[in-house]
């Protein structure tokens, strides 16, 4: 166990020392990784912010339930009862046709329109708010309500929410694709860097082998190198991401003010930072593992 720790700590120190000695190239590598990693990061922050914005507006999706004309009061109270008992409905409000008529009269535009009408053409209606927030669930509820007797039309007020969600979904997919492509590029970049390092140390590797080094011993420093490149890269990516967002938020705030909105890009949470760094480390490890495996153990 002690021996194992010794070997690891030695490989670790060796690599840190090597990176310190070649700090310009280490820095370069960290920047390359940082820039690459922060691209999907930025996209994520934008989509995430829009998502929250959509969440706020959508807040309470509404379903308007227009009843058939000329309904018995009994049917209306039956619908009321069913709405009260329905587990998916948060609250509802009954708008009688007289009330709607009055409201319309108060509205200037409406009053002009109504002047040409002789009688009230409006139906009784319920305005209700479902507990579910997702478009799918709301839609399901809407379809159910549509089937109720006495209901002429159940209308979800904002189908644009659905469209927005679809667009955001697209954004999420774009992040995935971008992240996957860039991950591949990073693995290739790190792999190549590690391969070059291996080439400069072939002599040491050969001698180590001859005097009894295990494959793990030979692989270890290179794996640590990959992990550290990942760590530095992840940290740089995080820095870039935070600075870019802080910078942009000034302009975003100005624009949002013009639309009298409080919209801001959210600073990424520490969880996102953690994900960024952990994935950078994993990519670094993977890249160097592939490189070591290819250049050391395939030539035999």
């Amino acid at each position: 166990m002690k021996q194992w720790l010794n070997q690891h700590s030695r490989a670790l120190l060796l690599i840190l020392e090597r990176m310190r000695r070649n700090w310009p190239s280490t820095l370069m590598m960290a920047c390359v990784m940082g820039v690459t990693l922060c691209l999907p990061g930025i996209l994520y922050v934008v989509v995430d912010s829009l998502d929250r914005l959509a969440g706020n507006i959508q807040g309470e999706p509404q379903i308007s339930l227009f009843l058939k004309l000329e309904l018995e009061p009994k049917t209306i109270s039956e619908i009321k009862r069913r709405l009260t008992q329905h587990p998916e409905i948060k609250n509802y409000q009954f708008v009688s046709k007289e009330k709607a008529w009055q409201q319309l009269k108060h509205d200037k535009n409406g009053a002009d329109m109504l002047a040409s009408l002789e009688q009230n053409p409006l139906p009784d209606a319920f305005l209700l708010q479902p507990k579910a927030q997702t478009p799918e669930k709301v839609e399901k509820l809407q379809k159910e309500l549509q089937q109720w007797p006495g209901v002429e039309l159940a209308l979800v007020d904002a189908s644009w929410i659905k469209r927005l969600h679809a667009v955001l979904e697209l954004g999420n997919k774009a992040i995935m694709v971008l992240a996957a492509l860039l991950s591949f590029a990073l693995v290739a970049i790190i792999g190549n860097t590690i391969r070059l390092q291996i080439l400069t140390q072939l002599e040491e590797i050969e001698v180590s082998r001859l005097i009894g080094a295990t494959n793990a011993f030979i692989r270890r420093p290179f794996l640590y190198a990959g992990v550290f490149y990942g760590l530095w890269g992840g940290l740089v990516a995080w820095l870039i991401l935070v600075s870019i967002i802080s910078l942009f938020n000034y302009s975003v705030a100005d624009i949002a003010e013009l639309y009298s909105s409080q919209f801001r890009l959210n600073l990424p949470s520490w969880r996102i930072g953690l994900v960024l760094i952990v994935s950078a480390i994993s990519l670094g490890w993977l890249g160097s593992y592939i490189a070591v495996q290819r250049s050391l153990f395939n030539q035999k």
Partner: protein
Amino acid sequence: MIRFDQVSKRYPGSDEILRKVSFIIAPGERVFVTGHSGAGKSTLLKLMAAIERPTSGTVLIGNQNTSQLRPAAVPFLRRKFGLIFQDHKLLYDRNCFDNVALPLYINGVVGANAAKRIRAALDKVGLLNKEKAMPITLSGGEQQRLAIARAVVNRPAILIADEPTGNLDENYAAEIMALFQAFQQVGVTVIIATHSVLDAAASRCKRLKLDHGQLICEMPESDQTKADTDITPELPA
């Protein structure tokens, strides 16, 4: 104990380098492998250290058959040996101390304990004052001694040297041979391949003479005690 039983070795596309070679080396023996260049001396040593595997026959190191060793077990077999190569195989990007440290690091020995053993090994070969020097600044004889320090720092049971005096003048060669004798006296099995004319001390040791891959004579150890009085060995470990 090292035991070769009907060992043949052929590289792809070559004649047989070794043909049905059989011998036994007991623990603590000092053995010279002689023969013209190309006789198969280096190959013989490589077979011992499991750097190569025999085409046929068996090589037993202790009780392990090298041909049946799993690849993962080979490094652990090699740690029983101290290997000294004809071309030293020193690492020129680090100083003497770090060169000798490599086998210890491979074994997971670091820190003060390692430093102590490294200095002891350097001291034994007379290079203690050069621990910070880069190998490239050393003379040929010093480089060879540094290689020996690296081979013995792990206190191996078997020391294998391939042409250790090949490029050295007589004085240096005698120094190096005296070192090997000192190691043998503390119980290390020493196996030396050489094509040079053997000196007086060596002529009394066991000799394996190779000719075109065949073991043509195996001279047993003769009057060892008398021989040892001729050369004053360096301090044993």
